[in-house]
Amino acid sequence: MNAEAVPSESAAPEVVLSAEHLTKRFGDREAVSDVSFDVHAGEVFGFLGPNGAGKTTTIRMLVGLARPDRGRVRIRGLDLAHDFRRAMGHVGCIVESPDLYRYLTGRENLVHFSRMLPDGAAARISELASLVALTERLDDKVSTYSLGMRQRLGIAQALLGNPDVLILDEPANGLDPAGIREIRRLVRRLAAERGIAVFVSSHLLSEVEQTCDRVAIIHRGRTLATGPVRELVNRVASDGLRLIVRPARRAAEVLAAFGHAEVAGNADGEGEVDARLPKESVPEALRALAAAGVDVFAVERSLASLEEVFLDVTGGETV
């Protein structure tokens, strides 16, 4: 992996995609309000929010399917509204779901979309097919593909034009864990090796945490926070612990002295305890457990749920 070849820390980051004050109204309802963010070359940018938060509407504006009522989209500095064709020449995308022509083969789909690009795109078909591991099934009809294969074919399609920006809407949706891992690895590789700016939307915090460098959190059509993923997740995840102990009830009693603790499973025998304690008191709490004769089998940091992140960034407003 030559991940370090991409200019990231040294120079000022190169902005390839920027949303400026995007607003979209449907009747009286404002589905997206004043959403702004920049996506840099070579990074994976997460767009995190619960379903119905306005993610897909924002994406539709990013790729010119819907016109913003206010604000604008710039791709490599080109205003999407005025320079649609040149701007979209830099973009590959999957909006909502990887919909391709099911009655055509994978190859025919790629040929079809290569004809909508400058000459030379068709020459990349076999290279891209092997990149997304579809070479063997490329001449089968798409209707016989699994969702994961369609997702990968969709990504190959999006890469046909050698884009600088790749926009993926909920790429993990409906995939099994192996499929999710595969897509994640592919996305990281595209950003690291080709310097592509990848924009990924998701409603799963864990997904964004494992895939993205930076994240914008959107809720009810507004961006609540934008920043590096680590910062955001650490803010809420640092005090959550899950322990597997015996006996669980005794452990909960001991831990309650350091913060908050409750038994999650079997209370008398070996069980799980969820605790919330400040990071600095964790070593002391573990010594206290040992002193109280509690057997500790495992201690792990529990992942904050998206709800907890929202609670944190909104300061308690309900999701």
Binding site: T56, T57, R60, V63, G64, L65, A66, R67, F84, R85, R86, A87, M88, G89, V91, C93, V95, E96, S97, D99, L100, Y101, R102, Y103, L104, E108, H112, F113, R115, M116, L117, P118, D119, Q157, G161
Partner: protein, 325 residues
């Protein structure tokens, strides 16, 4: 990204969908059935000399005209038919002659009412709504190609598909008709230019041309009428974004158009509807038009205006409208 590449895309999608094969099958099956049924009918009734047969028919018309109870619309038709038969008799041309070429020629008239428009609708109503239904519209409109160009490529492919369908129908009609009635006879004389002057046929306008010339003209008119239906169906496909809804709307219009002249022959404004003007080949070959004042030129002009307006509206909506879930 040449325009021809985009048209190639649309042709690829047309040809790989089941509807294309269904249309071909419908044409072959239907024409086969018509030839079979007609040939059997003729065996039973046509043993007489055609001069005698035609004179008998003219006598029946005259009886009908003498009868006071005959309704005015029938009366009009009978007078017209009488003139036409007399003209044929005078020029020694069998009005009911059959041959492969004549069958092919007749198919243009018969098919322009319903069959060809129907097939055009089957193609056109899916052109845009199909992309919405499959979700592929999101890819199609996020490529570095303007929306107007995308729609133009679809229109071009539609014109091609309709042209091939009309051609194919004509060829199949000739091939099947030939099996039953023989393949020769393209050079036979055909009477054309029958025109209604007031309540009567105007014999001055009638010309005799060669059958193959007449056939090309008839198919040209059928093709034009079918194209116009295709353009209007394309608009419904853009507006409704659902193939079923678009097809249903167009079918309803088509059926209403075939019924209306019979139910309300006195309502003259219906001649400005597009459906009333679809049987262009009929108006040209001189069957009495259902509404007075319908001629080939008028019909073609009305259809052209409808088609042009439909295409303009389709582009205006397609280029501007948001694509949402």
């Amino acid at each position: 990204m040449r325009f021809s590449g985009l048209v190639e895309n649309e042709i690829l999608k047309f040809s790989r969908q089941r509807r294309f094969r269904v249309v071909i099958l419908i044409l072959v099956a239907l024409i086969g059935l018509i030839v079979f049924a007609q040939a059997r009918g003729r065996e039973r009734f046509h043993n007489k000399d055609w001069h005698v047969e035609t004179q008998e028919r003219m006598a029946r018309m005259q009886n009908m005209l003498r009868d006071n109870r005959t309704p005015p619309t029938w009366r009009r038709w009978a007078r017209f038919e009488l003139d036409r038969l007399r003209y044929h008799l005078d020029h020694n041309i069998d009005p009911d002659a059959v041959s492969g070429p004549l069958f092919a020629r007749g198919f243009a008239n018969a098919a322009s009412y319903l069959l060809l428009p129907l097939l055009a609708i089957v193609f056109a109503s899916d052109v845009v709504s199909g992309e919405f239904a499959q979700g592929t519209i999101k890819l199609l409109l996020t490529r570095p190609v303007g929306r107007a160009r995308v729609l133009a490529s679809k229109l071009a492919a539609l014109v091609l598909a309709i042209t091939l369908t009309v051609l194919f129908g004509g060829i199949v009609a000739y091939l099947f008709g030939g099996i039953a009635y023989g393949y020769g006879g393209w050079a036979a004389p055909a009477l054309t230019g029958f025109r209604v002057a007031g309540e009567r046929l105007d014999p001055a306008s009638v010309r005799s041309v060669l059958l193959w010339q007449d056939t090309i003209l008839a198919y040209g008119l059928a093709w034009f009428a079918t194209l116009c239906v295709g353009a209007i169906a394309l608009l419904t496909s853009v507006l409704l974004r659902s193939t079923a809804a678009a097809m249903g709307t167009m079918l309803a219009a088509l059926i209403a158009g075939t019924i209306l002249p019979r139910l309300a022959p006195t309502w003259e404004s219906q001649k400005f509807l597009f459906v009333t003007n679809l049987p262009l080949p009929d108006y040209y070959s001189g069957s009495p038009p259902p509404i007075t004042g319908l001629t080939v030129g008028f019909g073609a002009a009305v259809l052209a205006v409808w088609a042009a307006a439909a295409v303009a509206a389709a582009f205006a909506v397609f280029v501007r409208r948001d694509v949402l879930a």
